[in-house]
C-alpha cells in the first residue's frame, strides 16, 4: 500500500476533554440518598434484614443446645430420655428459625432489589429528562454513545451496589456488631482476641476503596472510548471502506481494547491482593481463637459446647471480613459510576428560563435582530458579527450566502437554541431571553436541514409536535404538505410504520412529512432550513408548492441555495463570513449587491446558453437579465 503508517495516536477519539474531578465517596452517598425516596420499601428491606440477622444469630445458640445435651447425656449417662427430648426440641427449633430466617432473608433481598430497580428507574428518568433539556452547544460537544453508556451501564453499576452491596454492607455491619456483643457477654477474654481485626479490616477497607475507585473510573472511561470507536465504525462503515482504512481502524480499535484490557488487569491485580488479605484476616482470626479457646478448655474454664457456640459466632465475625472484597468492589464501581451520572445531572443548560420569564402567546410574528454577535466561546472568533435586521409580521425572509457564512446560526438564535453573545433577538418586542422557552418555541415551526423521523407510525410522526391532534387535522396538514397522496398509497395509510431513521421512506417523502409536522403546530413563525437540497426536481417542485401554502400569513425564514426559491421574499439577507453583506428585495439587491448579482449570475448564466435550444425561454431569460 502506498499509505505511510498512521500518524495518529491509536487512542480513541473524543476523549480529549479533561477528566472530571477525582471521584470520591460523597457522590456515592448522594446516590444512596435516592433510597430515601422509597421509604416503605426501605423499611421493609432493612427491617427484614434485622430479623433475618437475628434469626441467623440464633442458630449457633441452638446448635449449642444440641451439643450440650449430647455431652450432658454422655457424661451423666442418667437422663437420656430428657436429653433426647431436648435434642429433638432443638432440632425443631433450628428448622423453625431457618424457616423464619429464609422468609425474612427473602424479604430483605427482594425488597432491596425492588429499591434498586426503583432507584435505577429514577436515575434513568432524571438522566433522560436532563438530556432532553441540554443545550445544543452541549450536544455539539458530546457523543450520544457516551451519554448512552451513562444512562445504561453506569446506572446499572449503581443499581448493583444499592441492590446488593449496600444490603451486604449493612448486613455485615449489623452482624458484626451483634456478634461482637454476643461474644462479649459469653466470653470477654476470647472476644479481646478477636477485636484487633476490626481496625485491620477498616484499614484494608479504606485503602482498597481509595485505590480501587479511580481504577474503576478509568475502566468506565475506557469502556466508553471503546464504544465510541465501535459506534463510529458501524455508523461510518462506508467511509472507512471507501478509504480502505479497515486495517488502521482495526489498529485503533485494538488500541482501545488494549487500553481497556490493561486497566482490567490493573483492577484484577489489585483485587488478587485484596481477596486473599480479606480471607486471611478472617481465617487467621479463626485459628487464633482456636488456640486461645483451646487453652481455656484444657484449663477447664470453658466447655467444648460453649467453645463450639463461640466458634460458630466467630464465623459471623469473619464472614463480613470475607465479603469485604466484594463490597469494596461493588462500592468502588458504583461510586465511580455515580460520579459519571451526577456529572450529567448537574450539568446546567446554558439556556434556561430566566426567573420571571413571561409566557409568550398570540404573537403577530414581528422579529428583530439587534446588533447580534455570536461566538462559540468567550473571546473566540465571532461566527456572526453585528447582525441587524427587522421582519414585519407575515413577511418572508430569505437567507442567502456561502456555506459557512452563518445562515443556520441566525435561525438557531431565534428559537434560542443558542444564546447570543452580544446584542439581542426580539420577537414582538420581547427579548427571547425574557420569555419562557416553551412558549417561545411553541410559536415557531421548524423544518430542519436533515429530517429525523421517529419509529412509530406516519400519523404519530406528523403529530410529533401536537400529540393530541385529531386525524382530520393530521390529514389536513399532510394535504397542505403534499404528503397525503403518497401516504394513502401505502397499504396502511397513516398507520404505516416508519422504520429506524425513517428508512422506509424516500428523502422527499420524509421531507414532506417533516413539513406536515411543522404545519400541524400552526406556528406564527416558520423556519425552513434548506429543505429541498436532497430531492429531485419533481419532488422539489411539489415541496415548493407545499411550502408556499405553509408560508401564507406567517413570518417565514427560508434558507435556500437557489435564487428562484428566494426571489419572492420580502427581505433577502446576503450573508458573507458572518456579516450581513446586503439586505433588501431581489430587485434592490440586483442593483446594490455585488455578491447577490454574482450568485444570481452563477445560477442563471449557467443555464442561459443551454436554453438557447428553446427560443421562447431564451426570450424570457433575456427579459429578466439585469
Amino acid at each position: 500500500m502506498r499509505r505511510p503508517p498512521d500518524t495518529r495516536q491509536p487512542l480513541p477519539r473524543g476523549n480529549r476533554r479533561p477528566r472530571g474531578p477525582r471521584p470520591n465517596f460523597a457522590t456515592l452517598v448522594r446516590a444512596v440518598r435516592y433510597v430515601g425516596r422509597h421509604r416503605r420499601l426501605a423499611i421493609l428491606a432493612y427491617g427484614s434484614l434485622f430479623i433475618a440477622t437475628a434469626a441467623q444469630l440464633l442458630v449457633p445458640q441452638l446448635v449449642r443446645v444440641i451439643i450440650d445435651s449430647v455431652i450432658g447425656g454422655v457424661q451423666t449417662q442418667a437422663d437420656r430420655a430428657s436429653a433426647i427430648q431436648a435434642l429433638i426440641a432443638a432440632m425443631l427449633a433450628i428448622v423453625l428459625v431457618a424457616g423464619v430466617r429464609a422468609l425474612f432473608a427473602f424479604s430483605q433481598q427482594y425488597n432491596a432489589e425492588r429499591i434498586s430497580q426503583n432507584v435505577a428507574f429514577d436515575f434513568r428518568n432524571e438522566l433522560f429528562a436532563r438530556i432532553q433539556r441540554l443545550s445544543f452547544s452541549y450536544l455539539d460537544r458530546n457523543q450520544t454513545g457516551q451519554l448512552m453508556i451513562r444512562a445504561t451501564d453506569d446506572v446499572e453499576k449503581v443499581r448493583l451496589f444499592i441492590g446488593q452491596g449496600l444490603v451486604l454492607a449493612l448486613q455485615s455491619f449489623v452482624l458484626l456488631i451483634a456478634t461482637l456483643l454476643v461474644l462479649w457477654f459469653s466470653n470477654p477474654t476470647l472476644t479481646l482476641v478477636v477485636l484487633p481485626i476490626l481496625p485491620l479490616a477498616f484499614a484494608v477497607f479504606t485503602i482498597f476503596g481509595a485505590v480501587a475507585q479511580p481504577m474503576f473510573m478509568a475502566v468506565q472511561v475506557r469502556m466508553s472510548a471503546l464504544n465510541t470507536v465501535l459506534q463510529e465504525n458501524v455508523a461510518g462503515l462506508k467511509v472507512v471502506r471507501a478509504f480502505g482504512r479497515e486495517p488502521e481502524e482495526q489498529i485503533r480499535f485494538a488500541g482501545a481494547a488494549d487500553a481497556l484490557f490493561t486497566q482490567q488487569l490493573k483492577v484484577a491485580r489489585a483485587f488478587s491482593f485484596l481477596f486473599p488479605i480479606a480471607f486471611l484476616i478472617a481465617n487467621l482470626g479463626q485459628a487464633a481463637v482456636l488456640y486461645f479457646s483451646g487453652r481455656q478448655i484444657i484449663g477447664g474454664t470453658l466447655t467444648v459446647g460453649e467453645w463450639q457456640k463461640f466458634s460458630l459466632y466467630l464465623a459471623y465475625v469473619f464472614l463480613p471480613m470475607g465479603q469485604l472484597g466484594f463490597i469494596i468492589n461493588l462500592m468502588s464501581q458504583a461510586s465511580a459510576s455515580a460520579q459519571r451520572i451526577f456529572e450529567i445531572l448537574d450539568t446546567r443548560s446554558e439556556i434556561e428560563n430566566r426567573p420571571g420569564a413571561v409566557e409568550l402567546d398570540g404573537i403577530s410574528g414581528h422579529v428583530q435582530f439587534e446588533q447580534v454577535t455570536f461566538r462559540y466561546f468567550k473571546g473566540g472568533e465571532p461566527v456572526l458579527s453585528d447582525v441587524t435586521f427587522e421582519v414585519q409580521p407575515g413577511q418572508t425572509v430569505a437567507l442567502l450566502g456561502a456555506t459557512g457564512s452563518g445562515k443556520t446560526t441566525i435561525i438557531n438564535l431565534l428559537p434560542r437554541f443558542y444564546e447570543v453573545s452580544e446584542g439581542r433577538v426580539r420577537v414582538d418586542g420581547h427579548d427571547v431571553r425574557d420569555v419562557t422557552l416553551e412558549s417561545l418555541r411553541a410559536q415557531i415551526g421548524i423544518v430542519l436541514q436533515e429530517t429525523t423521523l421517529f419509529s412509530g407510525t406516519i400519523r404519530a410522526n406528523i403529530a410529533y409536535g401536537r400529540p393530541d391532534a385529531g386525524l382530520d387535522e393530521i390529514v389536513a396538514a399532510a394535504r397542505a404538505a403534499a404528503a397525503h397522496d403518497f401516504i394513502m398509497d401505502f397499504p396502511l395509510g397513516y398507520e404505516t410504520p416508519v422504520g429506524e431513521r425513517g428508512s422506509t421512506l424516500s428523502g422527499g417523502q420524509k421531507q414532506r412529512i417533516a413539513i406536515a409536522r411543522a404545519l400541524l403546530t400552526s406556528p406564527r413563525i416558520l423556519i425552513l432550513d434548506d429543505s429541498t437540497s436532497s430531492v429531485d426536481v419533481a419532488t422539489e417542485y411539489q415541496i415548493q408548492q407545499a411550502l408556499q401554502q405553509l408560508m401564507v400569513g406567517r413570518t417565514a425564514f427560508v434558507i435556500a441555495q437557489r435564487i428562484s426559491t428566494v426571489r419572492n421574499a420580502d427581505l433577502i439577507l446576503v450573508l458573507d463570513k458572518g456579516r450581513i453583506a446586503a439586505q433588501g428585495t431581489h430587485a434592490e439587491l440586483l442593483e446594490t449587491s455585488e455578491i447577490y448579482a454574482d450568485i444570481y449570475s452563477s445560477q442563471l448564466l449557467d443555464d442561459a446558453p443551454a436554453a438557447g435550444v428553446d427560443g421562447h425561454i431564451t426570450a424570457r431569460t433575456v427579459s429578466v437579465a439585469p
Partner: protein
C-alpha cells in the same frame, strides 16, 4: 447484496438451539493458547480445594485429640478413636495438650495462608486469561464488522451488531474469572466432601446428604422461572435502550417541537415497564439463596440431631459409631457441602448466559461475508481510469432488480454524469464501482480487470467517494481531512481545505483546524460537512472520483468554485458525478439519464437537449422553475 432479510433471519434462528457443547468446544480454541496457565489454575484449584477440606478436618482433630480428652480428664474412647492427628499418652499434662494444640493451630494457620495466596493467584490468572480471550473476541468481532458487506447492515440494526462487542462479550467476561473457578472448585468440593463424609460415617453422611436432592429441585424450579422472567426483562430493557438511543440522537427535534415533557413521559412508561419486569424476575432469584440456606440449616439440624441421638443411645448404626468430634466435624462438613451447592447454583446462571453470549458472538463471526476477495484476488494495479459496465444487473432483494442491463464505458479522464429521479438506481451504480455491492449479473471492470478479481482494499484505495450524507468522525477537523491520506502534512491538509473552500469557516471554528467535531460532525451544517468530505477525498488523490450529490447542500457559488478546482485536480482522472442540479453536470463528457434502473438516454448535455427526450424534460422542468420564479415580478 443478494441476501434478503429473510435469509439472514433464518440463519440466525438456525443458530440458536445449537448444542452447548459446540460453543464450549469453540471457547476452548480460544483458551488453548493458555493451556499452561489453565493447567496451573487447575492444580491450584485442586490444592486449594484440598485445603478447604483438610482445614475443617484438622479443626475437628483439635477437639478429638486435645480438647475433648483434656476436658474430660480421661481418654474418652469415642473421641480418641476418631483422633488420627496425634495421640498423646494418657498421662499428658495440660501443657502437653496446649503445646500439641499450638502446633496444630500453626499448621492450620499455615494452610490458611497458603489457601489465601492460592485464591489470589487463581483469581489473577483466570482474569488474565479471561481478559486476553475477551480482547481477542472483541477484535475478531470488530474485524468481522468490516468484512461483512454493506448489504448486511441494510437489513440489520447497528445496535444489535454492537451489542456483540459490548453486552455479549461482557457476559462472557463475567463468567470467566470468579464464577468459573467457583463452579469448578465447588464441584470438586462437593464430590470431595461427599466422599469424605461417606468414608467417615455412612449414616451421618446419608443424613447430611438427604437434603441435597431437595436443593436441586428448588434450584432448578426457581431458576427455570427466573429464566422465563428474564426473557421478558431483556425485551423490556431492549425497548428502554432503543428509546434512549432514538431520543438521545434527536434532542434537537424534541426541543424544536417542545416535545420534552411528552418524551419524558413516554420514556418513563417504558422505563417503568422494564423496572416492573425486573422486579418480577428478581422475586425468583431473591428466593433462591434463602431457600438453599434454609435447607442447609435443616441439614445441619438433622446431622446434629440424628448424630446426637446416635451418640446418646450409644448404638452403632450400620456398623459405625459416632463421636462428639465427628458430629462437630459433620456440622462443619454439612455447611461446607451446602455452601458450594448454593454458590454453583448462583454462578451457573452466569456460565449459562456466557454460553448464550458466546453463541451470539460466534454466530456473528461465523457469518460468511457475501462479498469477499476471491481466493486468487490480486492487487489492483495503478488505475488508468477505463470503467466498463457490461450488461449489469443488480438487486437488493431477490427478484427486484434495481439496475437492469446497464452498460457504459468511461474512458480515462472522462467525467460521467448520472442523472435521473430519486430511486432510479444512480447510487447503486456508484456503489458497484468500489465493489460495495456485487452485481447479480454482468460485470463491472476497471482497466479491463473485473472488480471481483482484485482485492477490495487495493481497489478502494484508488477510488475517492464523496457521499451526500458525509460522515465525519468525532475527531479534529485536521484529522478528519487527513483521513483521506494519513501521511499528509498539515500544509497539504490546509491546501485541500482551501481547494474545497472550507478553509474560511474552519478558521472561525473555536480551535480552527484542531477543533474536535461532535458526533458525526454535529455542530456543522450539512454544507460544511460536505466541504470537509470533499477536502478529504481530494487529499487522497484518487484515480477515480465518485461524487454522489456531493455538493447538494453547498451554495451555488461555492459549488462552482469547487468544480473548477476539482477539474484541475481531476485532470486525466475519471470521475462519476450524480447530481440533481443539472447545471453541475453540464460539462460532463457523457450524461447517462436513468429511469427505473435502466439507461434511457446517453450522450453529451447538448446532444441530449437536442434529442428532446427524458433528459430534456428533466432539464426544462428545473430550468423553467428558475425562470418562472425569476420572471414573475417582472411581469407583475
Amino acid at each position: 447484496m443478494m441476501l434478503g432479510q429473510r435469509d439472514w433471519v433464518f440463519q440466525q434462528e438456525a443458530r440458536k438451539p445449537k448444542a452447548v457443547g459446540e460453543t464450549l468446544a469453540r471457547f476452548w480454541t480460544y483458551f488453548r493458547g493458555y493451556a499452561h496457565v489453565l493447567l496451573m489454575v487447575g492444580l491450584l484449584v485442586v490444592v486449594s480445594t484440598y485445603l478447604q477440606v483438610a482445614i475443617p478436618n484438622l479443626m475437628g482433630q483439635a477437639v478429638d485429640c486435645f480438647l475433648a480428652p483434656a476436658a474430660q480428664g480421661t481418654v474418652a474412647s469415642t473421641s480418641a478413636a476418631n483422633c488420627w492427628y496425634t495421640t498423646l499418652p494418657p498421662q499428658s499434662t495440660a501443657d502437653d495438650y496446649i503445646r500439641g494444640l499450638g502446633g496444630l493451630v500453626l499448621l492450620i494457620a499455615a494452610m490458611f495462608l497458603a489457601s489465601s495466596l492460592l485464591t489470589g493467584l487463581q483469581f489473577f490468572l483466570m482474569t488474565y486469561t479471561g481478559q486476553n480471550v475477551l480482547r481477542r473476541l472483541r477484535n475478531e468481532v470488530f474485524a468481522h464488522i468490516h468484512r461483512l458487506s454493506l448489504g448486511y447492515y441494510s437489513t440489520h440494526e447497528a445496535g444489535d451488531v454492537m451489542s456483540r462487542i459490548t453486552n455479549d462479550a461482557d457476559t462472557v467476561q463475567q463468567a470467566i474469572s470468579f464464577p468459573l473457578i467457583s463452579v469448578i472448585q465447588g464441584s470438586l468440593l462437593v464430590v470431595w466432601i461427599g466422599y469424605t463424609m461417606l468414608t467417615e460415617s455412612v449414616p451421618l453422611a446419608l443424613v447430611a446428604l438427604a437434603v441435597t436432592p431437595v436443593m436441586f429441585v428448588a434450584t432448578s424450579w426457581l431458576s427455570g422461572r427466573a429464566r422465563q422472567a428474564f426473557r421478558q426483562v431483556r425485551r423490556s430493557v431492549g425497548n428502554v435502550n432503543a428509546s434512549l438511543q432514538e431520543n438521545l440522537s434527536a434532542v434537537r427535534e424534541a426541543q424544536a417541537f417542545n416535545r420534552e415533557e411528552q418524551n419524558i413521559e413516554t420514556f418513563s412508561e417504558s422505563n417503568a415497564a422494564s423496572r416492573n419486569a425486573s422486579i418480577r424476575a428478581v422475586a425468583y432469584t431473591s428466593a433462591l439463596q434463602p431457600t438453599l440456606e434454609a435447607l442447609g440449616y435443616v441439614a445441619v439440624a438433622l446431622v446434629a440431631g440424628v448424630g446426637g441421638a446416635i451418640l446418646l443411645t450409644g448404638q452403632s448404626v450400620m456398623g459405625s459409631t459416632v463421636s462428639l468430634g465427628l458430629i462437630v466435624a459433620f456440622i462443619a462438613f454439612t455447611q461446607r457441602f451446602n455452601q458450594p451447592i448454593s454458590q454453583i447454583s448462583a454462578m451457573w446462571t452466569n456460565v449459562q448466559s456466557a454460553v448464550a453470549g458466546g453463541e451470539r458472538i460466534f454466530g456473528f463471526i461465523d457469518l460468511v461475508p457475501d462479498l469477499q476477495d476471491a481466493p486468487d484476488a490480486v492487487e489492483m494495479p495503478p488505475i488508468e481510469g477505463r470503467v466498463v459496465f457490461d450488461r449489469v444487473w443488480a438487486e437488493y432483494e431477490p427478484g427486484q432488480p434495481v439496475l437492469r442491463d446497464v452498460s457504459l464505458t468511461a474512458r480515462p479522464g472522462q467525467m460521467v454524469a448520472i442523472v435521473g429521479p430519486t430511486g432510479a438506481g444512480k447510487t447503486t451504480m456508484a456503489n458497484l464501482i468500489p465493489r460495495f455491492y456485487d452485481v447479480s449479473a454482468g460485470s463491472v471492470s476497471i482497466d479491463g480487470i473485473d472488480v471481483r478479481a482484485v482485492t477490495a482494499r487495493s481497489l478502494r484505495a484508488q477510488i475517492g467517494i464523496v457521499l451526500q450524507d458525509s460522515f465525519l468522525f468525532s475527531d479534529s477537523v485536521m484529522n478528519n481531512i487527513r483521513y483521506g491520506r494519513p501521511g499528509a502534512t498539515d500544509e497539504e491538509v490546509v491546501a485541500a481545505a482551501r481547494m474545497a473552500h472550507a478553509d474560511t469557516f474552519i478558521q472561525r471554528l473555536p480551535d480552527g483546524y484542531q477543533t474536535v467535531l461532535g458526533e458525526r460532525g454535529s455542530g456543522l451544517s450539512l454544507g460544511q460537512r460536505q466541504l470537509l468530505a470533499i477536502a478529504r477525498a481530494a487529499l487522497a488523490r484518487p484515480r477515480i472520483l465518485i461524487l454522489d450529490e456531493a455538493t447538494s447542500s453547498v451554495d451555488t457559488r461555492t459549488e462552482r468554485l469547487i468544480q473548477k478546482a476539482l477539474e484541475e485536480l481531476l485532470r486525466g482522472r475519471t470521475s462519476f458525478v450524480i447530481a440533481h442540479r443539472l447545471s453541475t453536470i453540464r460539462h460532463a463528457d457523457q450524461v447517462l439519464a436513468i429511469r427505473d434502473g435502466q439507461i434511457v438516454e446517453r450522450g453529451t448535455h447538448d446532444e441530449l437537449l437536442a434529442a428532446r427526450g427524458f433528459y430534456y424534460e428533466l432539464y426544462m422542468r428545473q430550468f423553467r422553475r428558475d425562470i418562472d420564479f425569476t420572471a414573475e415580478p417582472v411581469s407583475a
